[in-house]
């Protein structure tokens, strides 16, 4: 070995940067290896962070002291809180990024991170011990570097193949070489690999867009930051334009549909349904007259514009024609055409909930390599993998892995979905995936996760101190509101009509009445005006959702009971009696970590679960 580290992270994308930073925050001597140091933090596709559910993930990353929220707060040029008109549980922050500023912010944060070394190198292979334990990596330039744990976050690079019309060529992203050696390594480890597809639209020269006639969408004023630590956004803000496809656009696509690799059969892998190419939209929703196109500037001093909504892999000349048929884009100069990319991913059911590969101890996978799509999904996994890699390298027991569950956060929902159910299409987060959605809000990500992070040791002192202060203020204000009570008569005198049942209601209880606002409460109890706004907001949400949250708390207790029963890694399902062949196969593929996870596998029966439970209890007894 030429060198040796506690943790090596391969890939400097969104998963890799979070993994490397998290491992380093944990105190592990960490090395980040990536093709090019200049592209660390590069946004391969849409220059935007957040959105519904994805924004929740970013807040969760921040709650665990990750990079992404702080970086977008520095690099964001248009912030919007989506679903502002709906309730707090389904509000999601989103920001348009200046691609360069964002990348710069990520690189700055990494540079400031202690214990972290970054080298440019292509990793070709893993070094395995006799028992399949991963103990290091080999680079293309011939170096062998030892590690206590390795995190692979190679994104779309594994045997990446770009499609542009009838042309195809191997690549990781446009103008970047694919990673071929690692796919072979993963195959050698006998991991199940699959293939997925994604795509990106052309890039336009914003100076040649006719903005005058277009609808413009400004950001929120003032912009709301992502990070719990950011006070306010200081980067200048811009607006995005909105335009629409036309009849002519649709006609051009229909006339050329046979030249789209998706329709000619050239691509057979599955793409994301929620991110359809424009040709998909026209074919599947033939009666829709027009489709929205958002024109999103890629930077403050960069003329490049990302036309969000017309991702395509049609040949360049067809893209040319269809783009020019869109209002505002008649004269536009196309900087580079859109394309589709196919890549290998590892069936995430090969992983433990810590994101460690079951068949290769010491190897962790995070990001697009696990079948997900999106920066936020990648970053959240990276963070969890980084923490666990550091824990493993430090000699911690696997039972003490850092595994947030479905009631802790969206990152728990995502990882559980991946490792127990696998995925058939690129996996993206939606709020509808979370059964405890009312609890898993963007506004309380810190309350949910920062304490867990503190316990694991991934939170910096500065954040821990800020968090503890906030929580104390909250507890104090809550206690105060519970102590302030009034009778129905007193409330009626203040213009608030509740049941005249003589029962005293606390200031907190009153939030369950839709008409009650802070203003109402402040008239009744002027002393409440002292509560700081961030704390006040939390209390209002708690009060409003109280009835529903109580029910969810009961559900969560039941859910956690099932999660409490872990199934051993080496459980041989062939030896469990009274399982049908089908269920045996499902269990063998998924290797659920807990009884609860087993129950979530579609087609599982109560009888099978009972048999499983019995088997495990017996094993534990005979082991004792």
């Amino acid at each position: 070995m030429n060198d040796s580290f506690d943790v090596i992270v391969v890939g400097g994308g969104h998963a890799g940067t979070e993994a490397a930073a998290a491992a380093a925050r944990m105190g592990a001597k960490t090395l980040l290896l990536t093709h090019k140091l200049e592209t660390v933090g590069e946004m391969s596709c849409n220059p935007a962070i957040g959105g519904l559910a994805k924004g929740h993930l970013v807040r969760e990353i921040d709650a665990l002291d990750g990079v992404m929220a702080r970086a977008i707060d520095r690099g964001g040029i248009q912030f919007r809180m989506l679903n502002q008109s709906k309730g707090p549980a389904v509000r999601g922050p989103r920001a348009q990024a200046d691609r360069k500023l964002y990348r710069q912010a990520v690189q700055d944060i990494l540079r400031e991170t202690e214990n972290l070394t970054q080298w440019a190198a292509a990793v070709e292979d893993l070094i395995l011990a006799d028992d399949n334990r991963v103990i290091g990596v080999k680079t293309a330039d011939g170096r062998s570097i030892g590690a206590g744990a390795v995190v692979l976050t190679t994104g779309t690079f594994l045997r990446g193949l770009i499609h542009l019309g009838e042309q195809t060529w191997p690549a990781g992203r446009i103008d970047e070489a694919p990673a071929l050696g690692l796919s072979v390594t993963l195959e050698r480890l006998a991991l199940r690999l699959g293939r997925l597809k994604t795509g990106t639209p052309a890039r336009l020269d914003g100076r040649t867009i006719d903005w005058a006639g277009l609808e413009m969408q400004p950001g929120d004023d003032p912009p709301q930051p992502f990070s719990f630590l950011t006070d306010r956004i200081t980067t200048p803000q811009i607006a995005c334009g909105i335009t629409y496809t036309t009849d002519q656009t649709h006609q051009i696509i229909r006339d050329n549909i046979h030249r789209s690799p998706m329709y000619s059969g050239q691509i057979q892998s599955v793409g994301p349904r929620y991110c359809p190419s424009v040709e998909d939209k026209i074919v599947r929703f033939a009666d829709k007259e027009r489709h929205q196109v958002f024109l999103e500037p890629e930077g403050l001093d960069d003329p490049t514009v990302y036309p969000n909504g017309i991702s395509t892999s049609l040949p360049a000349e067809v893209q040319d024609a269809l783009i020019h048929s869109i209002p505002g884009l008649e004269q536009v100069v196309i900087l580079r055409p859109g394309y589709a990319i196919e890549y290998d991913f590892v069936d995430p059911r090969e992983l433990r909930p810590s994101l460690e590969v079951q068949k290769a101890p010491g190897l962790f996978l995070a990001g697009q390599i696990n079948g997900t799509t999106g920066y936020e999904e990648a970053g959240a996994q990276g963070l969890v993998a980084g923490v666990n890699a550091a824990l493993l390298a430090s000699g911690a027991d696997r039972d003490d892995a850092f595994v947030p569950d479905r009631a802790d956060g969206y990152l728990g929902v995502m990882i559980d979905d991946l490792v127990t159910l696998g995925t058939q299409e690129p996996y993206r987060m939606f709020t509808s995936r979370a059964e405890y959605r009312l609890l898993l809000r963007a506004d309380n990500a810190d309350l949910r996760l920062t304490p867990m992070g503190m316990e694991a040791g991934v939170i910096s002192n500065a954040r821990a101190a800020a968090f503890v202060a906030k929580r104390e203020a909250l507890d104090e204000a809550r206690a105060r509101m519970q102590a302030l009570t009034a009778t129905p008569k007193e409330l009626a005198a203040a213009g608030l009509h509740v049941n005249q049942d003589g029962v005293r209601r606390s200031a907190l209880d009153l939030f369950s009445y839709q008409t009650v606002t802070w203003q109402t409460l402040n008239t009744l109890w002027p002393e409440l005006m002292e509560i700081p706004p961030a704390v006040a907001e939390q209390l209002e949400i708690e009060g409003r959702y109280a009835g529903y949250l109580n029910r969810q708390t009961t559900d969560i207790a039941a859910y956690r009971k099932d999660e409490g029963l872990s199934l051993p890694d080496d459980l041989d399902y062939a030896t469990v009696g009274s399982l049908s062949a089908e269920i045996r196969l499902k269990l063998t593929n998924a290797r659920p970590a807990t009884l609860g996870a087993a129950a979530r596998i579609p087609g599982m029966t109560p009888a099978a679960l009972t048999a499983l439970l019995g088997h495990v209890k017996k094993m534990k007894k005979s082991a004792a």
Binding site: N308, T431, T554, T605, T610, K617
Partner: protein, 444 residues
């Protein structure tokens, strides 16, 4: 920590059996036992009891009750065991009665075993044996049971399921894709759909009164002219000891009611006053009531005196319809042609006094009662659970309509979907996503 709910279920295989065992487990088990038998037996000792309806007080069955206080029980919780007659009607009435008690609900498949495990009460061999038993109640079999119900009913439930998924998916699309041009009126459309769905489910729950009939007994009125032999028919039927559950003399002079168990179903046989021209006012009132009973009965037995052929009693003839079985009594007194018809029907020929034809009549009646009361296929326990689940579903749907926020509305719909899923199989997130991506062009 919330207190565990108290659960109950039929522990013996559903269907007709000599003895049916119902198990109750959880903190309310003792209270339930007391509510049903009026007392708590000595721990671990079988006691002969009469099970009565906790609400109305009417007797449901005679049997044995056992009481196993925690932790010395099968599940490690307080457990009560009711052993009753194996008849379907009896089981159903006991299960219905338990449903009405606070804090009790039908057990989910495997739940007893589950609790037993959690409290360290089972070893592996027991578990495997039980697993087979529980297998009969798996989700897949739920669906199968649903398919086995008559086609219309299965279509109904499947339709509800897809409606509910669609409404929820549309709402979720509205929530998860705020930048997408999803029509504004969608919200209204979803609301209208939900209230229609809740309405349809409520109507179904209220429908058929089958459940009540099973609980209270199918009402059969015996009508006919005086001396046609009504009373001897009722007596003859009641005299078949095996069938008797209880006999109580009527409290009014005009109707005598006899409780019978026909093929496991509870039946109330009402011997009405003879239909004839009333001599006095009191009797006229009696006849009026008799006619009213006959009118409201689930089934009528119209009794004719063979000796009076063909001068059939007109008032009785007027009562014959689809819900009527025509009976020709005293056939031993005359010989009438084989193909004799009364009001177009072939009568059951019997001699209530001599006993001829009674076995045949009893069999025919039992078939008729079964066809009226039986919901095809689905065992009683499953039906009971379906009802509870459906009620929960309706409740959630209704609450969703008054929810102040869209996400709370969605939350209620998710609860509704979960309740319905207990009948039709779980609604997975993928089901929702499928609808979202099918119905909306979403994504950039």
């Amino acid at each position: 920590m919330s207190r565990p709910e108290t659960i109950f279920a039929l522990a013996t295989a559903p269907g007709r059996a000599g003895v049916a065992v119902i198990r109750i487990s959880g903190p309310q088990a003792g209270a339930a036992l007391q509510a049903l038998c009026g007392k708590l037996p000595k721990p671990r000792q079988a006691a002969r009891v009469r099970f009565c309806d906790p609400l109305g007080g009417q007797p449901l069955d005679d049997g044995l009750a056992l009481w196993f206080p925690a932790p010395g029980s099968f599940t490690g919780e307080d457990v009560a065991e009711l052993q009753g007659h194996g008849g379907k009607a009896v089981i159903d009435s006991l299960l219905s009665a338990l449903c009405t008690l606070p804090g009790l609900r039908p057990a989910e498949p495997g739940e007893f075993t589950r609790r037993a495990f959690e409290n360290g009460k089972l070893d592996l061999t027991q578990a495997e044996g039980l697993a087979d038993l529980i297998n009969a109640e798996t989700e897949a079999q739920h669906r199968q049971a649903l398919r086995q119900m008559d086609g219309a009913l299965a279509r109904l439930f499947d339709g509800w399921r897809s409606d509910l998924i669609r409404h929820l998916a549309h709402l979720e699309a509205f929530i998860d894709f705020p930048d997408e041009p999803i029509p504004d009126h969608l919200d209204q459309a979803v609301r209208a759909g939900i209230s229609a769905l809740a309405g349809a489910m409520s109507a179904h729950l209220a429908d058929g009164h089958r459940g009540e009939r099973i609980r209270d007994g199918l009402y059969i009125a015996v009508v006919g002219a005086p001396n046609a032999g009504k009373s001897s028919l009722v007596n003859a039927l009641a005299r078949r000891e095996a069938a008797i559950v209880s006999a109580a003399a009527g409290t009014t002079r005009d109707v005598i009611e006899v409780h019978l168990d026909l093929g496991g179903y509870p039946v109330i046989l009402a011997d009405t006053a003879g239909l004839r021209e009333a001599a006095e006012e009191v009797e006229a009132e009696g006849i009026r009531r008799a006619l009213q009973r006959a009118e409201n009965a689930d089934l009528r037995l119209a009794v004719f005196d063979a000796g009076l052929a063909p001068g059939w009693d007109q008032t009785t003839l007027a009562l014959i319809d689809d819900r009527t079985e025509v009976i020709l009594n005293k056939t031993e007194t005359t010989s009438l042609p084989e193909d004799l018809r009364i009001a177009g029907r072939r009568p059951h020929r019997i001699s209530a006094a001599g006993g001829q034809g009674m076995a045949g009549l009893l069999a025919a009646l039992t078939d008729r009662v079964r066809s009226l009361l039986e919901t095809q296929g689905a065992p009683a326990l499953t039906r009971q659970r379906h009802r509870v689940a459906l009620e929960e579903c309706v409740e959630s749907l209704q609450r969703s309509l008054t929810a102040p926020d869209l996400e709370l509305m969605a939350e209620d719909l998710r609860l509704a979907a979960r309740a319905l899923g207990r009948i039709t199989g779980r609604v997975e997130v993928d089901d929702l996503l499928d609808v979202i991506f099918r119905d909306f062009c979403i994504g950039k």
